[in-house]
Amino acid sequence: MAEATDLLKTPLFDLHTELGAKMVPFAGYDMPVQYPLGVMKEHLFTRESAGLFDVSHMGQAWLVGPDHATTAAALETLVPSNMKELKPGKQRYTVLLNDNGCIIDDLMVSRPLAAEDDGRLMLVVNAACKDNDYKIIAAALPDNVKLEIVEDRALIAIQGPKAAEVMALHAPEAAEMGFMEARPLEFDGISVIASRSGYTGEDGYEISIPAGAAEAVAKALLADERVEPIGLGARDSLRLEAGLCLYGHDIDENTTPVEGNITFCMQKRRKEAGDFPGGERVLKQLAEGTENLRVGLLLDGRAPAREGAEIRVPGSEEVIGRVTSGGFGPTLGAPVAMGYVPSKLAEIGTEVELVVRGRALKAKVAEMPFVAQRYYRKPK
């Protein structure tokens, strides 16, 4: 393990200390895993009210080209999603693929609202992947599109059913945003870039803030009794209940978007053309299916099955797959997991066994999300 002094600090490090966070090394950063409230209460509070997360360790970058068509076309050579069609002020989830059609990282891409920003796309990538992502993206870009890595901004998320009403007190225009929309906002007079999205299954925002102003924004949100600071522990249980993938665990460089069951990130034009890395293989999988598929798993008892637990057919010793994420779901009040099983056994309701400490626990393939997502859709 790296020495504490080798770890990077986010612009909110002092605030975490002040709030009594328990800090742990994560992706090279010293990050809060929990606050005095504890993982369980932090999780439940987020679903009930609103939670504030420091996600400044994630990579923020701009792609900058002469116009949207050029920049989008450059990004499309690396991802299987429509980028040309992305409208100003909209955000999209996508994946960087390698030549096998497997996932190098998953990321959010947003197109700025303002006409003068035409040709710019904002990327948010995983902390542990960012250096590799930047290398791959930079190498693939044509001469007239540049990658600008953002090092001087924090990223925070406010998530939960009361996130919007709290946010509106500081940035009234935030209320007009719909799910997966992005725009600049004035937050108590501070210029920020917000998207209405997140990683909990709840309504909420991710807010990119100049590093020097991050603490002021975080403190303004935390001053509201409807908001508590939330650590990485609850962030993980929230995303797991929401059925969202954790890169490096549920999807990685050995899984395609088809195997990972995230083909929603691929739009029709790209699925027909297959004009992305590993396109031929991915198209074949779309047409013929895959050997294995990521599924949700619900256990019968209270014992959680964690990452690495073997998945078996009941009554058989044969290992058919493994749990890739698992734990206790505080909102569900029961253990939840996801993992890979042969596609022929991926049907909802299929009975399987998960091996925990040598004992086979009964489980069923279950629909995801485990807890209903509550994103905000604008009235038409």
């Binding site: 504890g38 993982v39 369980m40 209270r302 014992a303 505080p330």
Partner: protein, 123 residues
């Protein structure tokens, strides 16, 4: 009645030849919110340091060890239905199991409350 502590952050209250065993306040604070407890079977013969019970928090699974040789006589069924009791009252109502001592001489190597406190300070 005498109370003893182990380096694995368990406590034992010994009355006659029966020990009641649980995890310490320090252990529960390190574990975080407990969501599942697996108890040993009654009548099971165990050796010192055998893994006999499991406590799972939202973060991870941890083993509870037999602090001494002996035989398990009772598990605390309360913890099966209300695992969060381990966080609320670890050194009281949330005991894990009772065991009949097989070798009372092993008690001598365990820590007193004062020794245990000093041990926790070093961590």
């Amino acid at each position: 009645m005498s109370t003893y502590f182990t380096k694995d952050h368990e406590w034992l209250k010994v009355e006659g030849d029966v020990a009641t065993v649980g995890i310490t306040e320090f252990a529960q604070s390190q574990l975080g919110d407990v969501v599942f407890v697996e108890l040993p079977e009654n009548g099971k013969t165990v050796a010192q340091d055998d893994e006999v019970a499991v406590v799972e928090s939202v973060k991870a699974a941890s083993e509870v060890y037999a602090p001494l040789d002996g035989e398990i006589t009772e598990g605390n069924e309360l913890l099966v239905d209300e695992p969060a009791k381990v966080n609320e009252d670890p050194e009281g109502a949330a005991w894990f199991f009772k065991m009949k001592l097989g070798n009372a001489a092993q008690l001598e190597a365990l820590m007193s409350e004062a020794d245990y406190k000093a041990f926790v300070e070093t961590l």
